[in-house]
């Protein structure tokens, strides 16, 4: 299952966790990403906490926790090579894995068709 937020994040289920990244649309809007600061693993986060800082050639942006949960793993590859987020935002450019406090909250997010319509507006 893959879901999307209004903040242009995607969440893909991976066992009892979700993998989180930003959408191709978001990556394109941000421009060339040159810096990523990720949270520590084992951090408990609440929905809308500012947990990731990304900087493009244009500006700094915050990435918010999409739902309540615990960070279980972060993608150090995008810290070493921030351009990965632009090159492959939906796969190799993922940000972190999150163990959701309440997996049923995934149902509150947009599916792919709804996100496509949201971006088209």
């Amino acid at each position: 299952m893959i879901k999307f937020t209004e903040e242009h994040e995607w969440l893909r289920t991976d066992g009892d966790e979700v993998i989180v990244g930003i959408t191709a649309h978001a990556a394109e809007q941000l421009g060339d990403i040159v810096f990523v600061e990720l949270p520590e693993a084992d951090t408990e986060v609440a929905k809308d906490d500012e947990i990731v800082v990304i900087e493009s050639v244009k500006a700094a942006s915050d990435i918010l926790a999409p739902l309540d949960g615990t960070i279980t793993e972060v993608n150090e590859a995008i810290v070493e090579n921030p351009a990965l987020v632009n090159e492959d935002p939906m796969e190799a450019g993922w940000f972190f894995k999150l163990k959701l406090a309440d997996p049923s909250e995934m149902d509150t997010l947009m599916d792919e068709a709804a996100y496509k319509a949201y971006v088209a507006d």
Partner: protein, 368 residues
Amino acid sequence: MATDLKTTPLHALHLRLGAKMVPFAGYDMPVQYPMGVMGEHNHCRTKAGLFDVSHMGQVRITGSNVAARLEALMPVDVAGLPEGRQRYGLLTNDAGGIMDDLMFANRGDHWFVVVNAACKEADIAHLRANLPDCDVTELDRALLALQGPTAEAAMIDAGIDVAAMRFMDIADFDAFGGLTISRSGYTGEDGFEISVAPDQAEALAEALLAQEAVAPIGLGARDSLRLEAGLCLYGNDIDTGTTPVEAGLTWAMGKARRAGGAREGGFPGAATILNQIAHGADRRRVGLAPEGRAPMRAGTALHAAPDGPQIGTITSGGFGPTVGAPVSMGYVPTSHAAEGTALYAALRGKFLPVKVASLPFTKPGFKR
């Protein structure tokens, strides 16, 4: 696009090229093209980039004693500038602060001045008030910049033989309805700024863009290019609150206007500026190299020690694609301005290490 924004003669071309447009100094200007800021930056450093800088003010001054009158407004050697040459200048106020930075050129029968877009109305009023019996006219012309190591070849291929020009030369050419071209720019690369009639601007831009080596470059890459080159952005790195000495622009003054020079002083703020040259200023603009990967942008506070008092401020900063790392400029006390001085920038609640670095960050490509 807001209706009160002005447009340049290349506006339709920018839209055709797929530019993302933003308001800048009252104009609707391209911030980037589909290539993206990083790609445009690298293209300009390795090949040639075409910039629309038509928002800048182009001013023609005629009359008697123009050089002496300009020297009464700028701490710069104007009278010593030969015909056919351009020089960097600074308008100062009575406190020694910088009202604008500009380029001026001796064209023989007139003087040609290029000023910043955001300052042009104030500059022209200031020039008219202080050169009352001279004619100060803003020219209705477009201004294009072609910058990069293959800029000369691209100009020649477009039928404009600039091979004999050297850095800071200025000359007229017959092509495209009559061009005024200086070998200068704002990127640290070799290149040209081309003044062209509005109705010929698009044809000239198309002739240059038709060549494989030339790509259009937006304001985003213009900023990262000038930052790596250590060049000041008026309003960020210099303003009425900074003097030429604090800004590290004493080189622009020339010997003639300094203590003991042939035409010492006699410009607004001379007492302050000459005193700072003799005894040093309390602070100065420096290059700053963040040690980590986090860009440190304008407004970031600088500290001598973590949790210590703020001692300075970053005035420009971002990622430097050619350097491959973040680069910044800012003001620090002269006691902390030596190259290699370790400082800390307050960023998102942390104190991150940053070192004072020499400017420019990249080697200039000027054809001297």
